[in-house]
Every structure is written in structure tokens, then in C-alpha cells.
Symmetry: C2
Subunit: 243 residues, 2 copies
Amino acid sequence: METGDHNMAARRRTNGNTESVDNYLKAILYLGGAEESRVTIKALAGRLSVAPASVTNMLQKLAGSPAPLVEYERHRGVRLSSAGKRRALEVVRHHRLIETFLYQVLDYPIEELHEEAERLEHFISERFEQRIAAKLGNPRIDPHGHSIPTMEGEMPEGERPARESILLADVVGDGTFVIDSISDRDAHSLRSIEACGITPGARLRVRKSASSEGYSVRTGRSSKVFDLSREVARDVRVVRLPK
Amino acid sequence: METGDHNMAARRRTNGNTESVDNYLKAILYLGGAEESRVTIKALAGRLSVAPASVTNMLQKLAGSPAPLVEYERHRGVRLSSAGKRRALEVVRHHRLIETFLYQVLDYPIEELHEEAERLEHFISERFEQRIAAKLGNPRIDPHGHSIPTMEGEMPEGERPARESILLADVVGDGTFVIDSISDRDAHSLRSIEACGITPGARLRVRKSASSEGYSVRTGRSSKVFDLSREVARDVRVVRLPK
DNA sequence: TCCTATAGTTAGGTATACCTAATTTGGAAG
DNA sequence: CTTCCAAATTAGGTATACCTAACTATAGGA
Ligand SMILES: [Mn+2]
Ligand SMILES: [Mn+2]
Ligand SMILES: [Mn+2]
Ligand SMILES: [Mn+2]
């Protein structure tokens, strides 16, 4: 009979992390931004829907372990260690590969990708990751236009969202744009975004409708005009085209 | 800001159960057998690799809830309530659909199906279940020859393993058989089983080799003879063919 | 019938990952 | 400089799901 303690420490997964730890790492990666700046306890608490006290606790534990996943200094916020960054990108890779797979192979509606991926990303094996990547032809972009980190745990060249992309909601004046990416988190926004033909990579002509608060947009060659609320425009990133 | 308690009770899943609870229900379903007889604490503890005390605790909790998943009487073992049986079959359906999917769509080797399915079965949504079922053409049998419970939560007609099937290890004398199913739990056995061409539904000619402790088998039309150890023969279920 | 072995239960802990409430701290504003 | 306040930390709990050790009940054998 087993000692039984192989089963304890409850939530170890394929890797050595719990779902919770993975989610902290992803949140730090995201909030740190491209400059990988220090992330505030409050910001983490907000993103993870958890009390600040819980964040402090978790970070102390993560920073105090033998091979720390984060660098944490009291009252000065956190950043990822290189091991932490590697793991965070691994989870992001899982997430985006799963989304791509659900979309392309299982015909999920775009607004349901995120929730399923958010759960499954923590539980698939390396084999599963490799098999779906192979099946999809090693895609580099997910259905929302986000770059899929490489197998080696790095963000690929020409990262998306692109550094130079801006929120549609921040566009001033009229213009023509390329759609960089769309947010994956709000199912309601995603429905409207898809309904008016907005797809990463497509071209978008924008007119800031002076009358209403929103944006009038036409996609691709279509002459159909759609009106987007400010709300929804906050979930679309674009890159301005010259001319 | 959220109240925060949407996030507590940690391990709630798509459904309302934790992974642990699901595993108890599956174990009770399995150990209760076709007659759904009462299952012993000790048997459960063995199957789940958990201390008997932990089993008692869990069963008391499950039996004491408002809509109990089990019927439990002190010192007299447990059986599933009808809600418990429904949920157990739901998880078994997940498990077997996932195995079929990994095998047919993602080309997993047969001996790696079980471990991945054992984890993922608890975390997929109903949508995921339906989509893979549809993609596979609503299969009724998994790669090991086990029946996949229906969407309505019932074991289908002509259940497999069949009532009349016996372990290859219990075969006395020579004879011809149909392979009913193979166990999914031992990766090592599965390798040897596959290596000699044993597949659910195939025909198997058996000669109990008097010399060694094992079984000499030929599958299908092949004239190649393989020797199986008693160990491995315990992982194969067969149905004797008349004549 | 009695006795004892085995199965089961209770009692008391551990670790994870949350919470609220109380306290501390560091930096910006006066 | 001091003050003050938002942000962070500490202190003290909860729930889940395990554990070991100690105790009890039941059923089969003498
Ligand atoms: Mn997640
Ligand atoms: Mn995404
Ligand atoms: Mn399981
Ligand atoms: Mn199986």
C-alpha cells in the first residue's frame, strides 16, 4: 500500500505548480507589460479577484521557496524570476493553443474559447500540447490575434499585440487601420465584434461619429457600416496604416 | 469589486463537484459492480490510495448534504444515490470520450490515454463533451472496448464489458474467443497487449501452454503466436465462442 | 456464547488557498 | 518636516481534503 503522501499537496499538476500559482504567474506577466515592470499587490488582487492579503501571502510563499518563481520585496511589488517567466509563458502557450484548437477543430463560437481555455490550460500534458500544436500546423497566432509563445518558452518575433498597436477606443480622428487583436475576456464584446466582421489581420476604416459616443467602422471590402460603443472599442487593438 | 467568495470553495468545476468527489463516485460505481452492491470503506480506500479514515470522512460529508450523492450507513458501506450514479456515469462518459478522442484525433499511443483522461474528465465543459462526441460520430465504445454512457446518463444496451465476459486469466483449456475489452490502467500491460494484436472485437485463439504459466494466443487471421504472462492475461476480458 | 481480529470511526493535525479585521508603512501633500 | 492615507502586511479564521494514532464495533471462529 502506498505511503499515501503521493496524493497529498493536493493540486500538483503535470508540471509542479498548482492552478492558483499558474494564475498568479500569468497575472504578473500580463500586468508587468512589455517592460516587465514591478507589479503592485493591489493590481494583482484586482486582476485575480482576490483580497490583497491573499496576494501578499502567496507572493511571500512563492518568493521564499528554494527555486523562487518571483522576485518580491516588501512594499515594492513583484516581478517574475526567469523560472517564473518561463512557466507563465508555458501556460499562456497552453491557453492560446487550446483556444486555437477549440476554434478550428471543435468549432467553438469565439466568445466561448476563453473560459474553456482558462480552465484546461492548467491540466493538459506536454504531449497534449504538442499534439494539438502539430495538428494545427504549429500556429503562431490565436483566434484573437495574440501570439502563441514558442515551445522553447519565448514570445516570437513580431509579437502580437504589437508594441505599436493602440486601442480602437483611443483612436482620434478618422483613418484606416489593420486590426491587431481583440480581447478574449468579454464574451458580450466578442459577439458584437465578430458580428461586424472584425477579425485580426483585416483592414478597418474608422470614422469617429461626432454625433454619438461610438465609432463607425467598415471592415475589409464591405461597405456595410457598423457602430461600435466605446465599451466594445476598448476591446479592439489596431495599428494605423500610413496614407 | 467582487465579494470574492465566488472564488472560494476552491475546486468547484463546470458541474458542482470537486475532482475528489467525482473520483469517489466513480470508484463506488466501479466497485459496486453490475449489482450495485454496497461498497466497503476499505475497498474504496484501496482503490483511491487514501486512508480509510479519509474515506469515512468524505462519505459522511457526501451523505449528509441536502441532496446526497451516496447512501451511507455506519459500518455497512456505501452505494450511490440516483443523483450520485448519474454524476458518476457522466464522469465515465467524459473519461471514455476523451480517451477515444485522444486515440482517434490526436493519435495518442493506447497506453497513454488513461492518465490524460483521468485528469481532464473533471475539467471539460458540457460543450466540450458534445463537440468531441459529435466529431467522433457519437461513439458507443472506447479504444479499450468499454461502453460509453449515453448523454442521458445511462449505460447503453449490450454493455461492455459484457456481463458474460471473463478474464483471459480465468480461461481453462483451449478455445476461441472474442476479445471483449482490455483494462486501461496498466500502461505496461497495454503495450504487450497491443504488440500481439489484441483489439476489442477481434477473435482470439487461446492455448493454455501447459509448460509455462502463460497463455499462447493468436489473433484474427494471423498465424503468429504470442505468449502472454498471467499478469497481462488479467487485463484482457474475453467471451467464449461456441464450437 | 464469548473473543478477538479486522473494519470502521473519531480525534487531532497538516497544507493550500482563500477570507476579514487590525495594524504598519512609506511617500506625496501640505 | 510633519501628517495622513492608501497600500501593504500581519494576525487570526474558514473550508477542502488529506494524514496518523487511538479507539470501537461487528461478525465469524472457538
Ligand atoms: Mn487559468
Ligand atoms: Mn486568449
Ligand atoms: Mn479522475
Ligand atoms: Mn478508460
